[in-house]
């Protein structure tokens, strides 16, 4: 076998390892229901859940519970299928958190009651491009 072939095979082998780990380490988008099932099956991998904050009749965010030392908090997230879940986040409340339109939590169930987010991504109504003229600008 020529040296070129050995190197070629080596490259292919590394590429396959890369592809396999990319698929293996890729996370997935789940609902709270499927996420809980995964936890109960003993799967502890961090997954993504997309949802929005629970709001009361007046449109105010409810269920936000900031710990006394303000360095962590829990909140209620309603996923796209309507499941409501208490989520814990070990960081201070992000500043524009209550204004966010949708929230992606990345994490896993700690136990059957609580979902622990390692990371939160927020989509805010007006971050980079304005779409409506605000009254403040009038």
């Amino acid at each position: 076998m020529k040296k070129g072939h050995i190197i070629g095979l080596g490259i292919i082998a590394i590429a396959i390892v890369i592809i396999m780990t990319s698929i293996g380490d890729a996370s997935s988008y789940e609902s709270f229901e499927t996420a809980l099932e995964m936890k109960q099956d003993g799967e502890n991998k961090a997954i993504h859940v997309v949802g929005h904050l629970k709001k009361d009749a007046n449109g105010e965010v409810t269920g936000l519970n900031v710990r006394e030392d303000k360095v962590s908090f829990t909140f209620l997230l309603v996923d796209n299928e309507g499941n409501e879940q208490e989520v814990f986040y070990n960081e201070p409340v992000p500043a524009d958190f209550t204004r966010s339109e949708s929230v992606v939590v990345i994490g896993a169930y700690k136990n059957d009651e609580i979902f622990v987010a390692d990371k939160i991504l927020m989509k805010c109504p007006s971050k980079y491009q304005e779409t409506t003229v605000q009254s403040a600008g009038m």
Binding site: I18, A26, I47, S72, V133
Partner: protein, 839 residues
């Protein structure tokens, strides 16, 4: 009054630029084909056409800047990216905050590069400029904003606000112009954001040059000659793109609060990947020049670089990333156009390369293990694998989009912990690269066999082991992975330094580019290892609070809550939060916010007290960006004040709330990096119920937790901002409130006029107190105070120590210097050949 002229001018110029780009492409094709007699006139016509295109492009840019600079908020672009409060240098950032502005920047750079190429090339002018003109046509189409039937071509930056939005005000008054814009994203209000995007886009734009030479070479059947003119540009491109990446990383480090300089965010990856391939292509191109091998690899890599830049643009600007990135760009409906742009050049390149493939010279002989070609090839392969490992997971959202467009369902998401995921591959690839550069450089400069190699490498090896041992002991690197990184990094630094010394002794500095760049790589590697691997969060919460969940107690809480004036222990430091500050024009330091009162005019305030020699009470002062609050955090050691840090935050209604930026204390061997993660919102306090206190003058009592002295009261003869009439009685009480080492005076006033009682309460936002003098009981010699509490001011802060981060920054500078040296050398070679009339 609405100014429509400037918008129409800009819009007209986009059309001129588009048409002239197409004309230029056509003209250059004719020039290339034309016979000797007609050549001169076609050449002149092509050049004029391109210069018209250039002038139109520059006018587009100037028109847009005019709109921003003159606060023409009747235009959507100005309204949504700028505001009156912005200083001029940030208006420049506003220019490219929007995607349209970014495209204009790109177009502008291509024009500059095109003009340089026209004036530095002879033979290559026509084929290269055809590619340039076609690319320009695609880019200009992105900002055309022309609607043909159902087809929307591009998104114009010159549309009026009333056409871009639906608001009832425009039905009543179509000529309505908003008072102010919504402002520039505060994260972009940073000096690095003024120079980072132009650098990055020059990097993007310049990848076109080697690609254009390659396409020219394939069309004109000069399958290998294109390398010489392309090489200096490829190195230039890698240098600029690398600089852009580093500036972006540095910007992230000093303005974003994710705690570092690199986050493996898709937007970052999208620049990193083309850069890796570009660097790989430089190596194979240099190899080809030396020994006529690796031509096909070079061709593939040059194509790949250009296509990856377009792919990166597509990823970032098409909206396909959606939830996956924190840099969420809105979809402007350009995804289809971007896709066509990318595929057009991909197919052309593949078609031309495939057609020429069997004519491309290759070297049949197998590269020996003891040849430089072999090691450069392995290095280029490693770079390509690094790029592959990053681009694959970054493309997961694209994969989902493809599956969904075929009606399937794909719920794949990017890896949950991106930093860990990418690091576990990239770290080892980088170690391999470092070792390869060390070995490869020896092969480069001399023909070597097994024994000679051993001899040559032995000394640098021993030296680097000794140095590594010293680093490991002194810096306490005990993790085996990091020990390997230190070894590999030092080895490449030492080995390349030896080569550098030899080159400098024997020949000129001009040849030193390679070894310099590789020394830089070694330093970058070590710098990254220390600053990231050994970054240490020192703001561990010690509040001792117990939580309802036992598992929660075990979590490290990586932030501390700092109440104002209250000393808090944080590892080696005692830190105290001392309140909010503002930046005032003409004052070098920050000014306490509590002595400034807004006048209602943007960026203007009245001083409530004298401040040193800078201004007097009652003067009007100018504030630099009034939304910015700087939180003064004092750091003490052994009760001695060491330094203050002033992390910033900005409350910006238009941009979605609050954004904060870190502040760092920079030492030679480490940075102490801090940022504010949350703070008190006292704009609309929710006062608690009344508390009444009856106190005699001279008495001491407690208001909330504060020790308070009631020093006495005085009858006022005059009252600020109030005219006292005959028979009025005004009494002011003086309360001294102690909060740790700070003493505050609060003086509520009480007025009686015609048996009516008026009370003037005082509010202290820092203490969260509102006190009013409610009543005076003369027979008991007592005063009645009403106190409402809200909340003391506080910040929640994170502090991280990042050791040896300066090694990283110095390493990048050395690396970029190496690139620059190489550019001059390669351009010199090209110039010599050209002037001989060979190219």
């Amino acid at each position: 009054m609405i100014n429509t002229f400037i918008g129409n001018l800009g819009h007209f110029m986009t059309i001129v630029a588009f048409v002239s780009a197409l004309v230029t492409a056509y003209a250059y094709i004719q020039y290339f084909k034309a016979n000797e007699i007609e050549k001169a006139s076609w050449k002149r016509f092509s050049r004029i056409s391109f210069y018209v295109h250039g002038a139109a492009s520059v006018t587009i840019a100037l028109s847009l800047f005019e709109i921003i600079y003159n606060h023409r908020f009747e235009y959507f672009y100005s309204y949504s990216h700028s505001s009156k409060a912005l200083p001029v240098h940030y208006m420049i950032s506003s220019f490219w905050e929007g995607q349209e502005g970014a495209f204009i920047l790109w177009i502008f750079w291509n024009v500059v590069l095109g003009v340089i190429l026209i004036n530095t090339n002879k033979f290559w002018e026509a084929p290269v400029m055809v590619v340039f003109a076609l690319v320009q046509a695609f880019l200009v189409s992105m900002i055309m904003g022309v609607v043909i039937g159902d087809l929307k071509l591009g998104s114009s930056p010159f549309i009026l606000l009333r056409d871009a939005t639906v608001a009832p005000i425009f039905e009543m008054n179509p000529d309505f112009v908003p008072e102010d814009g919504t402002g520039l994203n505060p994260l972009l209000q940073n000096i690095w954001m003024v120079i980072h995007p132009p650098t990055l886009f020059l990097g993007y734009a310049s990848t076109l040059v080697p690609f254009a030479f390659l396409i020219g070479g394939l069309v004109t059947k000069k399958y290998s000659e294109w390398i010489r003119p392309a090489l200096p540009w490829a190195i230039f491109s890698a240098m600029i793109l690398g600089m852009g990446i580093i500036m972006g990383a540095y910007w992230a480090y000093v303005t974003l609060n994710f705690g570092g300089y690199w986050n493996w965010d898709p937007v970052e990856n999208a620049v990193y990947v083309p850069w890796l391939i570009l660097v790989a292509s430089i190596h194979t191109m240099i190899t080809f020049k030396k020994s006529a091998t690796a031509l096909k690899t070079s061709i593939v890599l040059v194509i790949l670089t250009f296509i990856l830049v377009l792919y990166a643009t597509f990823l970032v600007r098409s909206g396909v990333l959606g939830d996956a990135s924190v840099h969420s760009f809105t979809d402007l409906g350009l995804s289809g156009q971007l896709l066509i742009y990318m595929l057009f050049f991909l197919f052309i390149a593949i078609f031309l390369a495939a057609r020429a493939w069997k004519h491309i010279p290759t070297s049949e002989k197998e590269a020996s293990v003891y040849s430089r070609e072999f090691w450069v090839f392995i290095g280029a392969t490693t770079l390509a694998l690094m790029a592959f490992q990053v681009i694959l997971p970054t493309s997961i959202p694209v994969w989902n989009a493809i599956v969904e467009s075929f009606g399937g369902i794909s719920n794949m998401a990017p890896p949950a912990d991106q930093i860990e995921f990418y690091t576990k591959f990239q770290l080892w690839f980088a170690v391999a690269l470092a070792l390869l550069t060390a070995v490869g450089q020896y092969f480069w400069w001399q023909k070597i066999d097994k024994k000679a190699l051993k001899d040559a490498l032995l000394t640098p090896y021993i030296i680097s082991v000794l140095i590594s041992a010293a680093i490991i002991v002194f810096a306490k690197v005990y993790d085996w992975k990091y020990i390997i990184v230190v070894l590999a990094g030092t080895f490449t630094i030492v080995a390349n330094s030896v080569i550098l010394a030899k080159i400098l002794k024997k020949s000129t500095f001009k040849l030193a580019g390679g070894s310099l760049a590789h020394i830089g790589l070694g330093m970058v590697l070590i710098g990254i290892m220390f600053s990231s691997g050994y970054s240490d969060v020192i703001s561990i919460n010690m509040s001792g609070l117990t939580y309802s969940n036992s598992w929660e107690d075990e979590l490290n809480k990586e932030h501390v809550l700092l109440w104002i004036n209250k000393p808090t222990q944080m590892k080696d430091y005692t830190v105290i939060y001392r309140g909010r500050q503002k930046k005032v024009v003409g004052v070098p330091e920050y000014v306490p916010a509590k002595i400034l009162e807004s006048t209602g005019v943007v960026n203007e305030a009245i001083a409530l007290e004298d401040y040193k020699d800078h201004f007097k009470k009652g003067e009007t002062v100018k504030i630099v960006l009034e939304e910015n609050d700087y939180f003064k955090i004092d750091y003490m050691q052994n009760e001695v004040m060491q330094f203050s840090l002033n992390p910033m935050s900005q409350f910006n209604e238009g941009m979605g709330g609050l954004i904060s930026s870190p502040d760092s204390k920079i030492y030679l061997d480490k940075d102490l990096y801090t940022y504010v993660a949350a703070m008190n919102d006292h704009s609309d306090p929710d006062w608690k119920e009344d508390e009444m206190y009856e106190v005699a003058p001279g008495e001491q009592f407690h208001v909330a937790d504060f020790v308070t002295y009631f020093d006495g009261a005085e009858v006022l003869k005059e009252l600020e901002g109030y005219t006292l009439q005959e028979g009025d009685v005004a009494v002011k009480a003086k309360l001294r409130i102690l909060d740790y080492d700070v003493e505050k005076v609060m003086e509520p006033t009480f007025i009686i006029r015609n048996n009516q009682v008026g009370k003037m309460p005082v509010v202290d936002e820092e203490l969260g107190l509102k006190i009013s003098l409610e009543n005076i009981l003369p027979e008991q010699n007592k005063f009645v105070f009403k106190v409402n509490q809200y909340q003391k001011d506080y910040v929640v802060m994170k502090a991280i120590v990042k050791p040896y981060i300066n090694v990283l920054w110095i390493g990048t500078i050395i690396m970029l210097t190496g690139f620059s040296v190489a550019i001059f050398r390669r351009f010199d070679e090209f110039k010599k050949m050209r002037d001989k009339g060979l190219e």
